[in-house]
Subunit: 348 residues, 2 copies
Amino acid sequence: MYMKKKITIRDVAKYAGVSVATVSNVINDINKTSEETKERVLKAIKEIGYQPDFTARCLAKRKSNMIGIMLPLTEKEHFTSILLKDNPFYSEFISGIESIARQRDYDVLITGIEQGQSCRDWVNKRNLDGLIFLGIYPEVLFQEFKSLDVPIVLIDTYEEYTSQFHNIAIDDTLGAKIATSHLIDLGHRNIALATGNIEKSGVNKKRFDGYKSAMEESSLCVKEELIFTGLVSFEGGHNMAKSILESKEDITAVFAVADILAFGMIKALKEFGKSVPEDISIVGFDDLKMCEYLSPGLTTVRQGIFDKGVAAASTLIDDIEFGERKNEGIILPVELVVRESTARNKAT
Amino acid sequence: MYMKKKITIRDVAKYAGVSVATVSNVINDINKTSEETKERVLKAIKEIGYQPDFTARCLAKRKSNMIGIMLPLTEKEHFTSILLKDNPFYSEFISGIESIARQRDYDVLITGIEQGQSCRDWVNKRNLDGLIFLGIYPEVLFQEFKSLDVPIVLIDTYEEYTSQFHNIAIDDTLGAKIATSHLIDLGHRNIALATGNIEKSGVNKKRFDGYKSAMEESSLCVKEELIFTGLVSFEGGHNMAKSILESKEDITAVFAVADILAFGMIKALKEFGKSVPEDISIVGFDDLKMCEYLSPGLTTVRQGIFDKGVAAASTLIDDIEFGERKNEGIILPVELVVRESTARNKAT
DNA sequence: TTGTACGCGTTATCAT
DNA sequence: ATGATAACGCGTACAA
């Protein structure tokens, strides 16, 4: 089989009648070359169609122009794939990363993290320039991360021991508060909170705080009977809806800490003959793209998921290229998006 | 800043008291080493925690263990990101690729294709071992693809000039036929087809054929007034639903060639006070994960999108590693999934 | 501006 | 039959 020989920097040098060092300098914008020679080199590159090999460049510079995204895998999800498939949040987020990476000439690799070791191996194997972590990890893993000596961006972490990394977050408390206030404004009093584990997740904790704060400001009691905890997933929402229907609290509205949870709830409520928002109002959190696909469209707290990816990638690449370590963290805005899943409480 | 020195193959050789060649042979399972030496090398690798550098390996072997996914970009979508974000089909598909790639020790890179040139550049830059293309491309681009000299897997192509590549597809005609037949069995007669451009897309053409075939087998007339064409997107479906409501054909059922189209239609129908399936039955195509999130759940033709990714990646990597060129193409099965968006025609 | 050692693993050639 | 030496792949960077 005939194989086209790869065009190398030496071919360019020969063609332009200069040394490889000069060609390299021109390519990398190192000003050691006269304008005239530069022209000649550029012309040669164009004419023979030279394309620098990132692999070789990586080997020489120890810089791959690749960043890695680590997704958390639980026991139930042995493949990254499952996560990507089932949780639209991830694909929107990754889209944001992708768009910045492309602009800045980086490529993106994705993997799941299973044990601490695999992470270091991956970085070493591929000489990744930086990492973006989604999800929360046991504290011990962060020791490992620190020793990786590449910039790391974390998303939505509140833990003390994560403060030495970049962090992209939103005001979860505020978001939860405006969601809950919206329901209160509509005349609801018995407002349930559908959430994941509050102790284990800082995000859930903050959203609980926001819920609580809104309730208390309106002198509403935060009863334990109003808090429904379970998996943050479609199925989890489905189950919580059942519990809510069985509750004796006469619940007329629910704030769900994630859209995906709200979807499961709406589906279950309809199966039980309840309609949204006539019987129960529901507010979600995230504003996934598919919120508007549903009927009723989901009222939710919009956090720019795509923008979060953009911020994460920008922060990471800024650190990689300029060593910018503005570790204070970035807080992205939230905003209430009112659609059709919330209505005035009929009893008021 | 203190930086841990990278552990190289030479460190292993020194530690084990052998040559680098021997270490390399052991790593790559080349049987030129006595069992005893092999043991010693393996032990050394473990003890000092050696991890081969894929970058260096790639440079030496011209094999990166990375594959690329090319997504089609139209004028409106200047970033890959937008596609990924808006079309759940892509993320499910990519999940399938990811899962196989991980198992077989490959990493996956994703990009959008804008001009022919960018594709070759990307392959050269990163020394990609193979490519998976989604979507349809102008014929001229395939000349380019051929000259890339890496294995290529195409998805859902019917064009003559694509036969020299691997192709993963489904039986689109059959899928469309069972969808349409399902509606006919429910007593519907005036069944609309909601589709993208039939001339430009082989997939749409085949699905049209299936629709036609089902209709004709039941002696139903395929009237031009029943065919609604537009963009295959949520918005496209939204618009088509409006046209259908304005139609004089007394349409009681619709077969939409994509779930996303069906979602847009259902949303629009509800906005116009029509209910699904009471007033109009709708069948989609794809069985996106979110079909079951909606209410009513969408009756649709299931094609294993995830499995399609799996098949694509397996085929590609088999070719890369064993040169398997079973270019006949792979046809994955389709199956009708009945949910709540279809019901018996009230008029019958 | 240029020559060249270097990064790290692979493999062909040579030595024992 | 085993194993060691060294050239190689390609771009970078420092000394000359």
